[in-house]
Symmetry: C2
Subunit: 388 residues, 2 copies
């Protein structure tokens, strides 16, 4: 096992009818900003329910945080926080709203150019220039990113995506009520399953480090997602399936399964370029890149790919390469069973685009990816070719 | 999945050479009390190393916290904390030292009789009368109880054992360096494996609640303990095995695997009486009671026992009862493979003692145990008879 630090102070209130917890967790005299996205949280009545729980506190609203939240949008909310002396923010939404709120919380007290907070690209380097942030909680409406129980955010800025991490950007609490996600469109539910699945794989299919608990927990998340994937997509009111989906997505990226083991994240890095250039949903980009990644990196990842084949997919017959092939096929079939296409060509993207994507990876410094930092642009090109 | 709250703010510093983290995590101007047990932490040089990291801070020491830490002992430390205006405590030891330190931390600012904090028996009822506690960190020397990453303590007081829980009694940090545990006696290592195993079982072999992640994580801990159990006992310098032992013991009782699923704890409750009356080590009492408990409660626990047989022990042949029988036999054999005897008679305890043990359970209000609260004194008697 590798040395690791683990810290996660977010309170989780999981289950049916948990909105009441907001009252106890929000300071009595706080001025509260409620942040949300495109309006479904408003239309569904969720924002009104949150306001009712907040009672007599002074409440402001900021809607319109878009998918892949943009710096310019978020800075409008920062202005409100500063002007109205907001003490507490409640983010009602999915990963984009929560990520955006983390940035708002970190930028609000930062006296210099908040663009400074976005200078490290996607490297997970903790911010050291921020020493105070607005406290915030979340009400999750989309199980996918895990942002509800970690301190990371990905923000779109100047044609790129930038990660922000700080010990000050953990949510104080997150309400995870599976029922609040019942009205999601199928495609978002499916994207959410893929996102949680690939988050887990990025921390699992690397090289062996004798992290037995981490491996077993990762396998547990993957097997759960496989078991409940089609049910949570096709039976949106199935509480038990959705509850396991929600908790799996949170556990996939709350720091636990990655503590003490190598981490890859190359699939995410290449996927981010597809979203930025081609506007393909984040979850879909992962479903496109992961099977290709595993195929191209099969020798680097051989030991863990075999473990994945045997423990996650129960593939016990055949030689090593057969098992790996089968596991990759099953991974692709799983994503497709959720209604997610897994090839670039199926999204209308031709091989002629590959060079431009590789150029973008180069422009963003993505030249030495993966758990071993030896995934070059040349290998990224091969992965993209394989993903056609 | 059942509704649940989860909160665990303890920072973990895991791995080789992590003592330096103490400096950053302890306030610069703090007066620090280092607590420890029978002296092995002193003799091994660990206390001196901690003092070296603490540098110029004012340092006090309190040794002699015994196994099953006693109120009277701990109150002596409380006097030091009060007299010397201690700001921070560092507990260097295993579960007893850490549990004892939690009580010291909670009692120090409590102006009335600290015995008040011990009035709920072993029920996990959070304290509401304490609103301030001394902050503390831990340096773990014995992987077993999980106390290093939870807020619970068990204290011996007036011929009984009493649980203390408070949001103020989470360690601020815990140093988990497997190397610090290499010099433990074999029996303590074996007890530690059994303790972590039974903690996990108490949160797993109950009744099904569709907590798929919780079940998979619990199974992952159990399988890891089975894989590394004999190695960690017989090869004390095997870093990888011990690292997995340490992290398994922490994860077995940090609140995660029990969140959202039923919990039993009857094995612990009966076991505590054996320790109090007969001075049998905690881990040993669990190894005695668990196999008997599972046999007597096989119908109540049937579904999860079958899952345990299949997923943890890979028993796929035979009828239901055969599978359950085999799983119980394998559980007993596992404990015995670590050098732990699993029958009361092997500890020199005759059937004539059973009535007195049942009387003690009655005296302590342990009349409706288990995840379904229907484990009566009569059933406890059957379990004890089965454990002969």
């Amino acid at each position: 096992m590798l040395n690791f630090d683990f810290y996660n102070p977010t309170r989780i209130f999981f289950g049916k009818d948990r909105l009441d917890s907001i009252d106890k967790q929000t300071p009595k005299d706080a001025s509260v900003l409620i942040t949300y996205g495109g309006g479904s949280a408003k239309k569904s009545g969720l924002i009104d329910k949150i306001k009712a729980v907040l009672g007599k506190r002074k409440i402001y609203e900021f809607g319109g945080i878009e998918p892949n939240p943009r710096y310019e949008t978020l800075m409008k909310a920062v202005e409100i926080v500063r002007a109205e002396k907001i003490d507490f923010i409640i983010a009602a939404g999915g990963g984009s709203v929560i990520d955006g709120t983390k940035f708002i919380a970190l930028a609000a007290y930062y006296k210099q150019d908040p663009g400074d907070l976005l200078k490290y690209g996607l490297m997970p380097i903790p911010l050291t220039v921020v020493d105070k942030a607005v406290s915030f909680g979340t009400v999750l409406t989309l199980p996918a990113t895990g942002s509800e129980m970690n301190n990371g955010a990905v923000i779109s800025y100047q044609h790129g995506k930038f990660a922000v991490f700080s010990e000050l950007s953990f949510p104080k609490f997150s309400i995870l009520d599976p029922g609040l996600t019942f009205t999601l469109p199928k495609i978002q539910v499916a994207n959410g399953v893929v996102d949680a699945f690939v988050h887990t794989v990025e921390q699992y299919i690397t090289f062996p480090a004798d992290g037995r608990l981490q491996d077993r927990f990762a396998e547990g998340i993957l097997r759960t997602l496989i078991e409940i994937g089609q049910v949570t997509v096709n039976e949106p009111q199935n509480y038990d399936a959705r509850a396991n989906h929600v908790w799996a997505a949170t556990l996939a990226l709350n720091g636990l399964i990655g503590a003490g083991v190598p981490q890859d994240w190359a699939t995410h890095m290449i996927g981010h370029e597809l979203t930025a250039m081609l506007a393909i949903d984040h979850g879909q980009t992962l479903a496109i890149i992961l099977p290709a990644m595993l195929a191209v990196r099969r020798d680097k990842k051989r030991a863990k790919l075999l473990q994945y084949a045997e423990r996650v997919w129960q593939i016990t017959q055949g030689g090593e390469d057969e098992k790996i092939d089968q596991a990759i096929v099953k991974t692709r079939e799983f994503f497709e069973s959720l209604g997610i296409k897994t090839r670039l060509s199926e999204y209308g993207v031709g091989a002629d685009k590959i060079s431009a994507i590789v150029e973008q990876l180069k422009a963003h410094g993505m030249t030495a990816l993966s758990e071993t930092r030896d995934l070059t642009l040349e290998i990224s090109r091969k992965i993209l070719e394989k993903a056609m």
